[in-house]
């Protein structure tokens, strides 16, 4: 099975320290630590599990610039056979549809049975996977949390509300967006990355891919105008004072709201 995983390099947001920069036109980026988008990492691990069972190779691709190479290398250290960077000045300002168009052009140059993306990235849009599938006319399923290989098709589970699992059959080739928790990704450390440090990562541009007017700022239908801090609005009434005082106030409130018998 030839598997392509679309990955993305994103800032680490787990410590809740995203702030606006001074100009107010972007988030403050220095001091941010970047790594591969977590759902994409789960997708690569899933792809590796599949080829370890059934043979084939895993290719990882990303749309970006030189600084994005590091995540390709990390996934290659994990076991992906090759990494490809799709980069061109003309790609700047692409919206989700543009990114999907770039990826679709790349897919068409190869022969992949299965294309995986992570369910969503830092922008929470969860769009590229579905768009890519539509551009390629491949069947699509999102929020996949289990994959079973059948002949020429897959049996997949999707995570839906209530913790239920929707089982589907999907023909190959297809596009799946992978939910976290589908597996336990293997550890990749500095040593692993050093071992793949000298492997070549080809870069393809607009001309190589034959992406004409479908990507870049001009083709974008959606553009971010600004960032702003969420209005605090009413927000929570913060209880202040000594712990004892707070506990007492809280108990009074709970009584009033029916939380205490």
């Amino acid at each position: 099975m030839e598997i392509l995983v679309c990955a993305r390099r994103v800032p680490d947001t787990s410590e809740d320290d995203i702030e606006l920069n001074e100009a107010g036109d972007d988030i403050a980026r220095d001091g941010l630590v970047y790594s591969v988008n977590e759902p994409d990492n789960y997708a690569v691990e899933e792809a590796l599990n599949i080829v370890e069972r059934d043979g084939g190779t895993v290719t990882v691709v990303t749309v970006g610039g030189d600084e994005d190479e590091e995540i390709l290398r990390r996934e290659m250290a994990m076991g992906a056979k090759s990494g490809v960077l799709l980069s061109d000045d003309a790609f700047a300002g692409s919206d989700g549809r543009g990114i999907a168009a770039i990826l679709a052009a790349f897919v068409k140059k190869g022969h992949y049975n299965l294309i995986l993306t992570g369910v969503q990235a830092e922008d929470g849009a969860a769009q590229v996977g579905g768009m890519l599938a539509a551009l390629l006319d491949y069947p699509f399923a999102s929020l996949v949390n289990s994959i079973e290989i059948l002949h020429g098709k897959l049996k997949i589970g999707r995570e839906i509300e209530g913790g239920n699992k929707e089982m589907n059959e999907i023909d190959l080739p297809c596009v799946l967006s992978i939910q976290t928790g589908i597996n336990e990704p293997r550890y990749v450390g500095m040593r692993g990355i050093r071992q793949v440090a000298s492997l070549p990562i080809p870069t393809l541009g607009a001309a190589d891919l034959g992406v004409n007017g479908d990507a870049g700022a001009n083709a974008a239908k959606v553009r971010r105008a600004d960032y702003f801090m969420p209005p605090l609005g009413k927000g929570a009434e913060m209880l202040e004072g000594s712990t004892e005082g707070i506990v007492d106030s809280l108990i009074e409130l709970l009584k009033a709201k029916g939380g205490l018998n």
Partner: protein
């Protein structure tokens, strides 16, 4: 009617002349043993290299102390005394036994008498009695000999068999002597008297009324029995725990001399060339070094290591004893005496489970206890290195490691906040700490390390330490945001590459600061800087520093306000066991007027690990109980209501344990620095 006793060499045993028979037995037995030894050597020759031939004088000294002097044995007094007695007996009997074996072909009728002969007779008696005692003990089954179901059958039968055989050997030797003396006495011939109350003497008495023919036959039969028993034992020992009789000398001589640190990934491969090494760590049996393999042979199955192991005590899947026994059995199976060798099985997922290896806190209790100086920590670290190399790391540890790599601390907190603890408003007003951040030079550097820098509760240890140093006129600096985690536990959890990166970074930062000395309040950082790092200025733990000041009279400790509390000091593993610092903290506590201190039943080098520090805080073990809970219960049993420790990780675990054990209000935990800071205000 024969007039004298025929010597074994001259007698005929079922149509074979003794001399010929015993030539054959001696030759065959020795050849067999040599062959078995050679086969047992095979995996060692295929194992990794391990330089243990240096510092011969020190090694000889330790051989005298631990092997000849049986130094560790009395730690379990009953078994210890029994072992010391029969070990001494064996040593005495060496020459005597060689004489005995030789006389079967030489023609002498009996081994030499005289003073040595008499001592030998008593030695044989003592060994015989010790074997009886040992067999009875084994049958009464002290708990630590028990074999949990998942490890297979009990070892009792085999143990009794071997002990009985040694008893038979002693009995045969004694009967031979007795037969000779009895036979001569019956024929009114001269014979040296046997020492009174020795086993030969008692047997001679028993033979007093026996017929001459019987005595002669017993005499010859005993000799044959001795020969056969001796060579049987010789060739059987390498198949079980009694192999330690032969290997103990070597396992002790070649034992590790460098405490506190961990072996390199590959001996002989410098750090700069580690990228050439294809596979890190131990994945298959032959990845162990020859000394580790020798350790597997040398285990006497005494169970003392597992008895002391805190992980084993709280029901984690780790038992050091069985780590060794399983490896030994593996080597017997895969490198057999008869048959071809086959290596290649993965150990993790085979004889070892992942949780078994991750469960270890590297506290060192096992190594401190083992009478044969078997090493454990290096093996566990090597096995972990293998798992890390394969990417086989529990998810909770992966997160911490990823944070260590990207932010220099396992909590994922921002680097720029690392020195915030020293910027707290009310702290800054009372204490001056220079935050170097790579710029200002330092004289005394306080290496804070990650948990003291970032954990809200533990930051108070940092502030207390800084205040103590300040109050006695010390100008201290901290590295500030350029400090990264010492990497102590990164190394011990098998991520050597990340450890080396952290070490390189911190070493450069410390050198750049121009620090003349380093102080730390974190025993893990202390151990790393002292043993894992190289070319460091002198490093002290804060307890040593305070003790020095107290001794010199430079620190005035006020009396306690509340003298109703009872304090128990808990020895942190990396301050106590690994670095031998037991007295300094106690001196400090005893210098506080009005402080009542008790010792817990497991203290000093028997201290019971709190649960582990560094990355151990991120591993989720399968256990019946927390180690910390056991420890605070021990403090309560000792009559204490305050447990004092000198390690931030011990503090985290103790306070956690107090909550989990429901002992809030009955037990509090305080760090030595916090206590001293209070008493020096």
């Amino acid at each position: 009617m024969a007039t004298t006793i025929q010597s074994p060499a001259e007698a005929t045993f079922w149509f074979i002349q003794g001399r010929i028979l015993f030539w054959i037995v001696n030759l065959l037995g020795s050849a067999c043993f040599a062959y078995i030894l050679a086969k047992r050597m095979r995996p060692l020759l295929r194992g990794q290299r391990d330089p243990r031939f240096d510092r011969p004088l020190i090694r000889l000294g330790r051989l005298l102390q631990f092997w000849f002097g049986q130094w560790r044995h009395p730690r379990y007094l009953g078994a210890g005394i029994v072992h010391i007695l029969f070990f001494a007996g064996f040593l005495v009997l060496v020459v005597h036994t060689i004489e005995l074996l030789a006389l079967g072909t030489s023609g002498s009728p009996v081994a030499a008498g005289g003073l040595y002969g008499a001592i030998s007779d008593y030695a044989a008696t003592v060994v015989f009695l010790c074997m009886i005692v040992a067999m009875v003990r084994r049958l009464l089954h002290p708990a630590r000999y028990a074999v949990p179901a998942r490890y297979g059958r009990a070892h009792t039968a085999d143990a009794i068999f071997l002990l009985a055989l040694i008893a038979v050997l002693m009995a045969a030797d004694s009967l031979f002597e007795a037969g000779y003396a009895a036979g001569h006495w019956q024929r009114h011939l001269p014979a040296a008297p046997l020492p009174v109350f020795s086993l030969p003497w008692m047997l001679q008495g028993a033979l007093a009324r026996a017929s001459f023919a019987l005595v002669a036959n017993l005499y010859l039969g005993a000799y044959l029995a001795h020969e056969l028993a001796f060579f049987f034992l010789l060739c059987y020992r390498p198949f079980g725990i009694q192999f330690h009789v032969e290997t103990s000398l070597f396992s002790v001589y070649f034992a590790n001399l460098d405490r506190g640190t961990v072996k390199p990934v590959r001996w002989g491969v410098p750090d700069a060339r580690l990228d050439e090494v294809k596979s890190f760590g131990v994945k298959t049996f032959e990845d162990f070094t020859w000394k580790h393999m020798l350790d597997f042979y040398s285990c006497a199955d005494c169970g003392r290591c597992s008895d002391q192991c805190p992980a084993n005590t709280v029901g984690r899947p780790l038992s050091p004893r069985f780590l060794t026994i399983k490896a030994r059995d593996y080597s017997f199976q895969h490198f057999p005496v008869w048959g071809s060798a086959h290596n290649g099985d993965r150990l993790i997922g085979g004889i070892y489970s992942e949780d078994e290896i991750w469960s270890c806190t590297t506290c060192g209790a096992c190594e401190a206890e083992c009478p044969l100086l078997v090493e454990y920590i290096d093996k566990i670290v090597d096995l972990r290195r293998g798992m890390v190399d394969d990417g086989n790391v529990p998810q909770s540890l992966q997160k911490a490691l990823q944070s260590l790599e990207s932010r220099g601390n396992p909590f994922g907190k921002a680097e720029k906040k690392r020195a915030d603890w020293a910027r707290a408003k009310d702290f800054v007003q009372t204490c001056s700490v220079r935050i170097a951040n790579g710029n200002a030079p330092a004289d005394t550097l306080y290496f804070v390390d990650s948990i003291t820098s970032y954990d809200d509760r533990i930051q108070s240890i940092g502030r207390a330490t800084a205040k103590i140093l300040n109050r006695s006129g010390e100008n201290i600096s901290i590295l500030g945001t350029v400090e990264k985690d010492s990497g102590h536990d990164v190394r011990r959890f098998g991520e050597e590459t990340l450890f080396m990166a952290l070490r390189e970074h911190n070493t450069a930062a410390i050198h750049a600061s121009g620090a003349q000395r380093v102080v730390t309040s974190d025993p893990h950082a202390y151990n790393a800087l002292k043993h894992d790092y190289r070319n460091m200025p002198p490093v002290e733990h804060i307890s040593e520093w305070i003790a020095r000041k107290v001794r010199a009279g430079g620190m005035k400790l006020h009396a306690l306000e509340n003298d109703g509390d009872v304090y128990a000091y808990h020895d942190p593993c990396y301050l106590g066991r690994h670095n031998g610092i037991y007295d300094a903290p106690r001196e400090v506590l005893d210098a506080i007027p009005g402080l009542r201190r008790v010792e817990m039943r497991r203290s000093r080098d028997r201290s019971f690990c709190c649960g582990g520090g560094g990355l151990a805080l991120f591993y989720e073990p399968k256990e019946d109980q927390r180690m910390g809970v056991k420890r605070v219960q021990m403090a309560a049993e000792a009559g204490a209501n305050v447990i004092v420790t000198a390690c931030p990780f011990c503090m985290v675990n103790m306070e956690d344990a107090i909550k989990v054990a429901g002992m809030e209000g009955k037990m509090t935990a305080i760090d030595l620095t916090e206590l001293v800071e209070k008493q020096t205000r």
